[in-house]
């Protein structure tokens, strides 16, 4: 087989397969929706809608990309929309309501659809690939619990601890019993700076309550699923008696508790 024949055979096979992997549906009121064998990191296919409006052809994603982010747990805030708009702009894509929109024409449509697909995938994946939708709160709590049990600490879970102003629910509570006690919270979040500020206040509030004089206040913050800025970490470290990154729990929890005078009740 000559080189040209191989080229056309390969190309023909690829194009036939690609065509078979595209689904098309006509929409009510004109226009078509196409589903392409292009997938977001969340495994969902990219679907686009093509519709004529006046002399123009409008390519849009029917709010699918932002919908993917929403399903992944993102809050679609003005800030997020602005960031998406910045990523989309170089590809001549605008964000209107929740839709990615590209203005095209009959002549440019084929190329524009390809550009739109690539842009939609990039825009979605910027967030979807790196976004851990699974907070590790439960895993860290289980780890803390196991350590406390192994070391024979007597503790309660999900206990309200009074502050000077209000009560705060803590994940673990070791009552003071001759030695200092502990109120410990496990923090896993996306909006980490706010969480740090809130827990900065809570730690202070608990410590200002005179009855809690012999109570150490601690936080374990998730570092696998949550990103904490230097400032956020500093808030936790300055306001809590104990602030441990989630991935250091197994190594550091016991020694830090002992250094703060929080000792097991038995053994």
């Amino acid at each position: 087989m000559s080189e040209n024949k191989i080229k056309s055979a390969v190309l023909e096979k690829y194009l036939r397969t690609y065509r078979d992997l595209i689904a098309v549906e006509e929409n009510e009121g004109g226009g078509v929706t196409l589903s392409f064998p292009f997938h977001f990191a969340s495994r969902h296919r990219i679907e686009i809608t093509v519709e004529r409006a006046g002399g123009r052809v409008i390519v849009s994603d029917s709010a699918n990309t932002i919908g993917q982010l929403r399903d992944a747990g993102y809050k679609v805030t003005t800030e997020l929309r602005e960031r998406l708009a910045q990523i989309a702009k170089p590809c001549d894509i605008r964000i209107v309501r929740n839709h990615l929109v590209m203005e095209s024409s009959e002549e440019r449509l084929g190329g524009d659809i390809q550009r739109f697909l690539e842009a939609a995938k990039t825009i979605g994946d910027v967030y979807l690939v790196h976004h851990l939708r699974v907070p590790n709160e439960k895993q860290i709590s289980a780890e803390v619990k196991e350590i406390l049990q192994e070391r024979h600490y007597i503790f309660k879970e999900r206990e309200m601890v009074g502050g000077e102003i209000e009560g705060h629910k803590m994940d673990f509570y070791i009552p003071p019993n001759g030695t200092p006690g502990l109120a410990l919270a496990v923090l896993a979040a996306q909006n980490t700076h706010n969480v740090a500020q809130v827990w900065g206040f809570r730690c202070d509030d608990i410590k200002r309550q005179p009855q809690n004089k012999r109570l150490r206040v601690g936080v374990v913050y998730d570092t696998r699923g949550s990103v904490w800025s230097e400032e956020s970490r500093r808030i936790l470290e300055m306001r809590a008696d104990i602030a441990i990154p989630g991935d250091m729990v197994s190594k550091e929890l016991v020694s830090i508790l002992e250094s703060k005078g929080v000792k097991p009740h038995l053994g």
Binding site: V24, E28, R45, S62, G73, R97, L132, P135, Q139
Partner: protein, 163 residues
């Protein structure tokens, strides 16, 4: 534990097991009422806290919701309405329509489907779901309630926009 998402490998342990989620979906639950849709500028959302029938307490982090994305101005487009059961920020069940959905096991589903959460694939695995007769936000919300064993304690008059 290694978690797969798309072509990416992410090292993380899921916060719950599949059986915990399946049990949560199957057990008897209720919401107090169907709230009116909230106009959130770019979409409409109906959302309600879910309670456990057994102890009449709210199940922390469990919300049932339906969303209707407003169409582009002046365009007909594709109807974009969906329902979801969210638990602690994760979509553990969802009902929506895609022309074609590729499942992680190689199978595919065309049209309306239900997303089923698992630790391995999160919400990427879907099973066919009967096409809802009405594609309004309320109809999808009610379809979700029925599917996920959630009853409504008191019905509310429908005074909200018919979206």
């Amino acid at each position: 534990m290694i978690e797969f998402r798309g072509s990416m490998k992410i090292t993380s342990t899921p916060p719950f097991t599949k059986s915990e989620i399946d049990y949560l979906v199957k057990e008897a639950k209720y919401i107090n009422e169907i709230p009116p849709p909230q106009d959130r500028v770019n979409d409409f959302r109906v959302q309600a806290q879910v309670y456990r029938v057994a102890d009449k307490k709210p199940i922390k982090g469990l919300f049932v919701m339906a969303t209707y994305d407003k169409p582009l101005p002046g365009m007909s487009g594709k109807i974009q309405v969906s329902a979801a059961l969210d638990y602690k920020g994760l979509r553990i069940r969802g009902i929506d329509k895609e022309l074609w959905h590729d499942n992680p096991d190689g199978s595919s589903v065309r049209g309306w489907h239900e997303h089923l959460w698992s630790p391995e694939y999160l919400d990427a695995y879907v099973a066919p779901f009967p096409e809802p007769r009405h594609k309004t936000i309320r109809a999808l919300f009610e379809a979700g309630l029925k599917r996920w064993n959630i009853i409504v304690v008191r019905e509310q008059l429908r005074l909200s926009p018919n979206v």
